[in-house]
Amino acid sequence: MALIRRSGTFAICMLAAICGSYVYAQVEFRYTEEANGGNQFVLGYPPPEPVDSAVPLDGFRAYSSLHARHQDLMLQSERVTGEIIGSTILGREIWAYAIGDEDSQTINAGPESSALINGGIHAREWGTPELTTGLIEAAVENAGDSYLYDFLNDNVHFVVVPVNNVDGFVQTQRYPTRVLVGADPNAPQSSPRDGRMRRKNMRDVDEQLATLGDHLLGIDLNRNNEPFWALSASSSSNRDSLVYHGTNSFSEPETRALMAAAELAGEQRLRWYEDVHSFTQVLFSVRTFKPRRNAIQSQLLSSFTRFHDALSIERHDVSRVYPEGPNSIGSGIGVTAEYFGYEYEIPSWTLEIEPRQSAAEYGGLGAEHDGFILPDSEVARLREDMALTHALLAYRQAGPPSVAALELIDSRGTVVHAARWHYAGDGLRELALIENEPLLPGFEYTLRVSFDKPMRWADDGVPRQAPGHQVPLEPAIVLRTESGGSHAVDTAAGNWLGAPDEPFVHYRFDTFETKFIAPLDPVMFESGQLTMEIDAEDFTEQRLDADPATVVDWQQGAWRGYENSSGQPRDSGGTDSTLTVRIAEPWEARLWLLRRGR
């Protein structure tokens, strides 16, 4: 082997010629745009090279630039904090960045939930550090939007590990077009290893591509995890294998760093985990033994799938469906998503980004392993679309919506009735009421109902349905008597507050306002009390928590405190009937009018 190291490729080729057909020499191949002779994988597009630019561009940034970008955002933005969560085999720092405000409290629901996203665990999957960095960048760029990103900032602790396998990533960028072929234990003739196609970490590996003896080594960090470590034929005990699982679970500093990232996120507060990979455009979800958790996970991923596809069609006129590919319950192969799924009983999956099959989808020629080489021209789109898709996921998994407040305002502009839920601690809210006057039959009122999150998608300041989601634009509001009499408020004439130059409560489109006439039908005021039945969905189709008194939280793989219309804790929500308002009979109404006159 020493001879091979010294004399380079020529000797390797000679060795190949001497040896039999089943022993393959290690030969350097290069990724090229066009065929022009030699050992090549012809992409049909320019092989991407890392670019020294901290700001995003149409292409891949060098790790040094990405790191400078992360650190810069951390220092410049109050919304980003950073922490070293470990160091790599070669001693490089591994950073995690938390996005969110300084406190750990939501606006009105107690402790914040958290999410953890891991990128760059497989070195050659260059799209993933760009995607994860894009999440941080989007949060900073959209700060102060009084909408989605401000909601997430206030209510979610979002932790991103942009590059987990830093050593490996740097190694691939050191050799952006070069690989070695000939020694992979499974596919020696075709499978490119090391250089641009390194997947594993750098344990027992130097950084020289020319030193061939070590180029198959390293640990597959996505086979190094409990609870299914070394339990599957999909990982290997062969050190040369692409999926070598290591000598024991969590043997690698990079996998242990991810556990430290979970601590940074707040293990008790985690609500979802995603490990970003490339490619095949699919969401490999982890199902555990908890059916409710699995169902919630599928709903969440359905939102991902529908939103991203519809967004892509809207923006680029191209469908990009990310279907869910659930695993078999109780089995696994040692990936990080399994660890988070089983350990924390949260939705957890491996995201495989585009392309679906190969770079032929972008006009490429279908070179070996070209799915790992996203063309430069696709990077910005991927980064920007995925940032929005992930914001939507974070929004949804922040929890279902609930009614936060209700106001009734008479024609003079006076608030005659106000109700507001306040967080009282221990997962409970209390209702604060101000009742200045009952409803007077036949009189017009403005009804203003506020929710605890933005409820409609914003499109140039106009509320609409989120891409891929079907939600009635207006909430349904019914006034109901104890005896069952009802009066539907015509909400079609109302509107969500938050258009440009329009006041709103916390966030754009968190408050709906409409006018109505207090019912004149005697049936409606015979008991003097009306229940306000409010039914609405957030823009990901999550229905209201029917009882805001119990704050929704995540517990042991399901929602807690998420009541349906009957007050039963389930995972689907229902109609909120917790608010009542007094209504006067006509004779009493005359007294109120007299009182007003004074």
Binding site: V42, A68, Q71, D72, T81, S234, H277, G363
Partner: protein, 354 residues
């Protein structure tokens, strides 16, 4: 000789209907990685042997069509598609075959690289056939356009996003110098470029070095993507007007760190141009990175400048010290970590570097 094992016999013969496959017609036969390797090698060898014998395209195609085993046949189609990559213009019989293959349903499935229990198509025959057809069509049209300046300019006037425009760019690669000059003459110098103009001029410059003088113009007036590409062309090509390129690039901060790369490659030392960029939102982080890597006076300069600097610039000075990763830099960082102008959060982060 590598043995060809009929895959129908050695395949796992599991009919995969992987959950995420979206083609209802596609029913993949899942083969092991080993069998896939055998299948591919045998196919490549057969196609290469036929090509080596100088067989006519039709003969090769008919030979592949006649392969009885559908999996082996698909592998050979894949190898045949590979053989077309280097072809300039395709033979009619090849085009006809590509049209057929464009509707091909994948047969051979291999384990997904991450989750081997899932099966994914091995060869992407249909996609690749479509790409080769599209490239051939574009090349043929490009030849026409290159020979007709009027048609070429009309195609380029179709604007970015259109097929004609893309083909027009391709035509520029094979157009004569006279045609390139004619195309360039339509460009409105010294004014913001219209959509597509910068792409056209950049393509001309990349095609013929005589037009490299246009790069600064593209950087000054072109769309952001073209301007960035122009910088990359200038930097990679080490063109003579790199100082001018760098100057134009530095005047457009939205182009990002490439501007600094250009300046550095133009021979400007980072100490000359980076200190003043530290408070620039688009260039500051890159300026800090370059100073960390190259400034001999980094420690002294930071000491001298930090108190009077703007808030963003101060942070970038700290970043430069962090990225310098030296004992001296850490000492200064430790000192500055106590500065009153740091927020508590920033102080924590700076101390985490020590």
């Amino acid at each position: 000789m590598k043995r060809f094992i009929p895959v129908a016999l050695c395949a796992l013969a599991a009919i995969a209907t992987a959950g995420f496959e979206q083609e209802p017609r596609a029913r993949l036969v899942s083969v092991s990685e080993h069998d896939y390797v055998e299948l591919t090698a045998a196919a490549k060898q057969r196609v290469a042997t036929m090509a080596g014998r100088g067989e006519a395209p039709a003969t090769v195609i008919n030979a592949i069509r006649a392969v009885p085993d559908s999996l082996a046949r698909e592998a050979q189609w894949s190898a045949w598609l590979d053989s077309l990559k280097a072809a300039h213009l395709l033979d009619p019989v090849e085009i006809e075959t590509l049209e057929t293959l464009a509707g091909h349903s994948a047969q051979v499935g291999i384990p997904h690289h991450e989750f081997p229990s899932r099966t994914v198509p091995a060869f992407q025959v249909a996609n690749r056939a479509q790409v080769l057809m599209a490239r051939d069509t574009a090349r043929r049209r490009a030849v026409e356009l290159a020979d007709s300046p009027e048609q070429l300019t009309a195609a380029l006037d179709d604007g970015p996003g259109s097929q004609e425009f893309a083909t027009g760019l391709l035509a520029l690669e094979i157009a004569s110098s006279a045609t390139l000059s004619e195309v360039v003459s339509r460009y409105r110098f010294g004014q913001p470029a219209q959509a597509g103009d910068a792409q056209v001029v950049l393509k001309v410059a990349k095609t013929d070095a005589a037009f490299m003088y246009l790069l600064p113009e593209i950087i000054e007036f072109g769309d952001v993507a073209s301007a960035r590409n122009a910088i990359r062309v200038a930097v990679d090509g080490r063109v003579a007007m790199l100082p001018e390129v760098a100057a134009k690039a530095l005047d457009r901060p939205e182009l990002g760190g490439l501007a600094l790369t250009a300046a550095q490659r133009a021979g400007m030392h980072p100490d000359r141009f980076c200190w003043g960029l530290l408070d620039n939102p688009s260039l500051g982080a890159d300026a800090a990175r370059l100073l960390a890597a190259h400034s001999a006076e980094l420690i002294d300069e930071v000491r001298h400048r930090v108190e009077s600097a703007s808030r963003p610039a101060r942070m970038r000075m700290l970043l430069a010290l962090k990225l310098r990763d030296s004992e001296e830099a850490r000492e200064l960082l430790a000192e500055l970590a106590g500065a009153s102008w740091l927020t508590d959060q920033q102080r924590r982060e700076v101390r985490a570097w020590l």
